[in-house]
């Protein structure tokens, strides 16, 4: 598939200021909501199933099926809740930021349709605390909607701001945080559809998923499913960043060639440098080497290469980058963001950082490379949520794909790249010197 933009979620946003209700209505906005309210909830879910839409947060769960899990009132008398995960924090991913900032009404319309389909009167949008800009756009959009009972119906939408914690993007940690607690994941089952917010049936969906619902209702599920490739229907907002000429978000059909994405829409690598590797779906995903990018950008194609589309954050790295330094920087993020609940993640990510730093400094012995992989193995599959696991998968993939480079750090007693690598000496928050005037230890 050639590299070209195909706008479904972002449709109209280049031509008009869709943050304004009147502008959005001028291009047919909120008509999908009217259409949906003329359908039964079951018919809406059928339409979603026909569209084969899968969750855009990164877990790819079929959206229609998720909605169908919500128990009927006679099975569970508790109110139903719709919670929108707008806690976008995956390094490399910034699509929800742009969706909320530029097509807030399409997003809200999706929320209202979903609320109707799952019989919910309360929508909570958990938006990451740092997103001041998108938050203010949503506040403005909801104020405009306030005077429009015909659109709002009996549904209330509450914007709930996070306070800086990557883990709150994990749905059960998000629910804990929304309930006013520390954002630590819960054990599953029960899944949120059965016992989520306030132990009531809860649907948790991503921002992009919500913004995709109105076009699906408008065009019909079967029509939407004609876009994309099997198991990855429709379009996806792909975030391009790193060593790329045209960084930004691009809405494309699923299945586009990754080479076209990087060299076509992205404009290639700056200053004519050579590609070294690509992180395909946010920093939680396994890396692809420069010779592995002739692949479709979709769920199945990336799965075949033992990696994932994740939240569609593509980070491009050029030939100057040291993979040990990348391992340090990526792993220190997870070390910082580990919620501390599960020992393998809390301690394992710290061990990984220490071994990687010894490798970079040239202090590591031969066995420590295997020790690093062993630590990764002891995190994988042993925690309540995927946070530690993704750190382990990412770092293990750097070793697997660039083993000779890790070996060179041992053989040459240090980093062959040194400060010529752009990732040299980057100060991560976890390693930040903190100023605690009251905590000075007396001599």
């Amino acid at each position: 598939m050639a590299a070209e933009a195909r706008q479904i979620v972002m449709a109209g946003a280049d031509e008009r200021d869709l943050t304004k209700l009147a502008e959005y209505e001028a291009i047919g906005g909120y008509q999908a909501l009217q259409k949906a309210r003329g359908m039964t909830p079951a018919a809406i879910i059928d339409e979603l199933n026909a569209s084969e839409l899968r969750g855009r947060g990164g877990a790819f769960f079929p959206t229609g099926r998720k909605w169908s899990f919500v128990p009927k009132p006679d099975q569970n008398p508790n109110p139903h809740y719709l919670v929108v995960n707008a806690d976008e924090s995956e390094p490399g991913s910034f699509k929800d930021n742009e969706i909320m900032a530029r097509v807030p009404h399409r997003f809200i319309e999706g929320c209202l349709i979903t609320a109707y389909a799952v019989d919910s009167k309360n929508v909570f949008v958990y938006i990451r605390g740092e997103y001041t800009g998108p938050y203010e756009v949503l506040v403005g959009a909801l104020e405009e909607l306030h005077g429009r009972a015909d659109l709002r119906g009996e549904v209330t939408i509450v914007l709930h701001r996070g306070a800086g914690a990557y883990i709150c993007g994990e749905e059960t940690a998000l629910l804990e945080s929304l309930e006013g607690e520390r954002g630590q994941p819960r054990t599953k089952p029960p899944f949120p559809a059965i016992a989520g917010l306030y132990a009531s049936p809860t649907v948790v969906n991503n921002v992009e998923t919500m913004a995709t619902v109105p076009p699906i209702i408008t065009m019909g599920g079967a029509e939407y499913a004609k876009l994309g490739v099997p198991d990855s229907r429709g379009t996806r907002l792909v975030s391009l960043s790193g060593h790329i000429v045209n960084g930004g978000n691009y809405e494309v059909e699923n299945g586009i060639s990754m080479r076209d994405l990087i060299y076509g829409l992205g404009g290639g690598i700056p200053e004519g440098r050579r590609l070294k590797c690509v992180i395909p779906g946010g920093s939680s995903t396994a890396i692809l080497r420069y010779d592995e990018i002739d692949v479709g950008y979709d769920f199945n194609s990336l799965l075949r290469l033992d990696t994932a589309m994740g939240s569609a954050g593509v980070i491009v790295l050029d030939e100057r980058c040291c993979m040990v330094q990348l391992g340090i920087r990526v792993n220190e993020f997870y070390e910082h963001e580990s919620c501390g609940k599960c020992t393998p993640c809390r301690e394992g990510t710290r061990w990984m950082s220490q071994i990687l730093r010894r490798l970079e400094a040239g202090d590591a012995d031969q066995h420590e490379l295997d020790l690093l992989l062993d630590v990764c193995d002891r995190i994988n599959g042993k925690c309540l949520c995927p946070l530690g696991e993704t750190a382990a998968i990412a770092v293990a993939s750097y070793v697997a794909k660039f083993r000779e480079e890790f070996q060179a750090h041992i053989d040459e007693d240090g980093c062959p790249f040194g400060d010529s690598s752009p990732l040299h000496g980057v100060l991560a928050p976890v390693a930040q010197h903190t100023h605690h005037p009251t905590a000075t230890v007396p001599a």
Binding site: G129, Y166, G180, H433
Partner: protein
């Protein structure tokens, strides 16, 4: 201006359970006091109907809540991968030089706190620097002195 207690009661009313008001109340208390001092936490607890210890236990989990004093302005430089690949460390060092503090510190006059921060979700527009929680995009080391001047002069 509405008083803090009343404002928290309004927030509580938005949710089926008062506990959900904890994060918004902490944010409000921090805006009022500059940081979550023991007094701020006490006031927050009183308005929520809980203990200061509960408030502190929640606040200590989140990066955006400050349990120690911070400057009147907050400069946060993203040093995650995409920003780092585009020179975030040089931007950070620029701020360190201009402000005369290291990352994690506050200037002696209490005006500006500088720190690094994890991915702010603007990777394609690197380097992202949040100034008082508002994003500046495409920040280069050359832009630093103008930003600092703006903070020093603009009040």
């Amino acid at each position: 201006m509405r008083n803090f207690y009343e404002e928290v009661q309004e927030i509580k009313a938005r949710y089926p359970d008062w506990r959900s008001a904890t994060l918004p109340a902490l944010r409000l208390a921090q805006e009022k006091h500059g940081f979550l001092s023991p007094n701020a936490l006490r006031e927050c607890a009183e308005a929520l109907g809980t203990t200061p210890a509960f408030c502190e236990s929640v606040a200590s989990f989140y990066d955006m809540f400050h349990l120690r004093p911070v400057g009147r302005h907050l400069v946060e430089v993203c040093t995650n991968v995409s920003c780092a690949l585009n020179g975030a460390q040089q931007v950070l060092e620029g701020f360190e030089r201009e402000l005369g503090v290291r990352a994690g510190e506050t200037t002696e006059d209490g005006e500006v706190t500088l720190r690094t921060i994890e991915c702010l979700g603007g990777c394609g527009w690197a380097t992202i620097v949040a100034i008082d929680e508002r994003y500046r995009t495409h920040v280069k080391p050359d832009d630093v002195s103008a930003i600092v001047e703006e903070l020093r002069g603009g009040g």
